[in-house]
Subunit: 305 residues, 2 copies
């Protein structure tokens, strides 16, 4: 499986349009050692021709344009996008579906809970039906072939790994929490056997989750906040990381301490919030990540398994 | 009034993510003389500090980042955006409102028809209320002060110029056509008296419309398609320009023939579709535009009146 990180920042991107925290201000002025990042989106493919996007952020148009295999080939209109796999219904995971409306009928893989939130909170499936339209598929809980829209095999198999979650903030008053609000994906290459786990939002790490995360060749995992009080400490509102559905990276209960021991060759943080100090190449937090055998994802990073 | 063109392309941008028409293919390969363009968005300000966006395209985040005065100044979070003026409810005009959710409460100027389409078709006002929230104001039909959110004057006055229109495609089966589906804005600087008209979507040019367009110092006007059959001729679907709510630029009944005689110092085409041959710097169509005393807008272009 070929994996391309199209975007690696949390919602708002890095720098975030309205943020002047030390990271954002520094990267704008060029006074810190860090690179800008688009909102989180990952593309995967077995054959290099049929690509699946994991989530569809608002600026997906720019992200698609950044990676030639996702663009048109041959015909006057076309795309290498064979489908979109949603891990949740948050705005930064789904708004790009509407930006893809100009293409052919979309294949969208989403749990019933996610599709419900999208319909109740944004009328998104109905709106899409007025343009390209979409075929909605519920991802299987045990490995099954991931098909291309014409029914042929993509060379990949996939499964949804259920995570604790809740409905997105825009639908929270209309939709009760349901199983499937948040999932991760296991993606397996039918030829090489390479196993990828993609989990851009994690609100808690259970033993079951850790067992899944430990059983793969590459793990792309939620690196939103370094610590639970990151935003209040910077004077940005009152919400803790956990209030926003993210376990922090640092600290004794953070994901770094839990994930560092896992025998996984590639462990990469994605969905990194603009305030996270590990975005700085020379920060103590970045050194801690690297000492733990993990890396901080960057847009354009690509690998194969 | 200071005017900045943040984006000058129609929905999909230029190049469009899934398009390999001669323009898109050429600009990607660097084989034509043309520059990429983001989706249409214009920023205006009297004082250089309080800026009003005309429409909010999906990639508004990148557009804000491209123009420093729109970013934060002083506080850890902030923005130079004092309000958003909508001309319609099409997806490429409104999706960016949700990308601005992370900021302070938004001031959105929209007709009752536009707000209705957004609520019925996308639940957008309700979704925004779960984040920053918004104050919705109906733009006046005769010149009135354009206020900053705290109630102080921005130095600009504005009025809505009603245009023939219809509800956006995503709401067309749920919403009947209403007055106010599509408008242009007249914006007047209280100090200099400079008059700007912004009309990014025009489905027909009446005598009344031409009279408004002729009575200003700068006109930003719909340049979506060169001719009515542009898309079918390229093998891209069956829709004519008029089916999509745009009068063509070229031809005896086109906007160029109608607007060229107007005694307006600056007449600039914006909202240009990726297929339009006037995007090429050396095309006969570009020469025709320039012979008519008009120009084709480019991202980053700025002027003051």
């Amino acid at each position: 499986v070929r994996v391309r990180l199209l975007g690696t920042a949390a919602g708002g991107g890095f720098p975030q349009w309205n943020c002047a925290c030390p990271n954002c201000d520094g990267v704008r002025r060029g006074t810190v050692s860090a690179v800008p990042r688009r909102e989180c989106c990952v593309a995967v493919s077995a054959d290099g021709h049929h690509w699946f996007l994991i989530n569809a952020p608002p600026d997906v148009r720019v992200q698609v344009e950044s990676f030639r295999p996702l663009g048109p080939a041959g015909a006057v209109r076309g795309s290498g996008i064979a489908g979109v796999l949603l891990t949740g219904a948050d705005l930064d995971q789904v708004l790009g579906l509407l930006a893809l409306r100009e293409g052919p009928r979309l294949a969208i893989h989403a749990t019933a809970a996610v599709r419900h939130s999208l319909e109740v909170g944004l009328s998104l499936p109905s709106a899409l039906d007025c343009f390209a339209g979409a075929d909605w598929q519920v991802p299987p809980e045990t490995l099954a072939p991931l098909l291309v829209r014409d029914g042929s095999r993509s060379g990949l198999a996939y499964a949804a790994l259920p995570l604790p979650g809740r409905p997105p903030r825009y639908a929270a008053d209309r939709t009760a929490a349901m199983p499937g609000d948040s999932i991760a994906y296991l993606i397996v290459d039918g030829t090489t056997g390479g196993r990828l786990v993609v989990a851009p939002a994690i609100s808690a790490l259970s033993g079951t989750t850790l067992a899944w995360f430990g059983d793969c060749d590459a793990l792309l995992v939620d690196g939103a906040f370094w610590d639970d009080l990151e935003l209040p400490r910077l004077g940005i509102g009152k919400l803790r990381a956990t209030d926003m559905g993210h376990v922090a990276v640092g600290g004794p209960d953070g994901t770094l301490a839990e994930l560092a021991p896992l025998p996984v060759p590639r462990k990469i943080y994605v969905h990194v919030n603009n305030t996270n100090p590990m975005l700085l190449d020379d920060s103590p937090e970045r050194r801690a990540v690297e000492r733990g055998g993990m890396t901080v994802g960057q847009d354009g990073c690509e690998f194969e398994m």
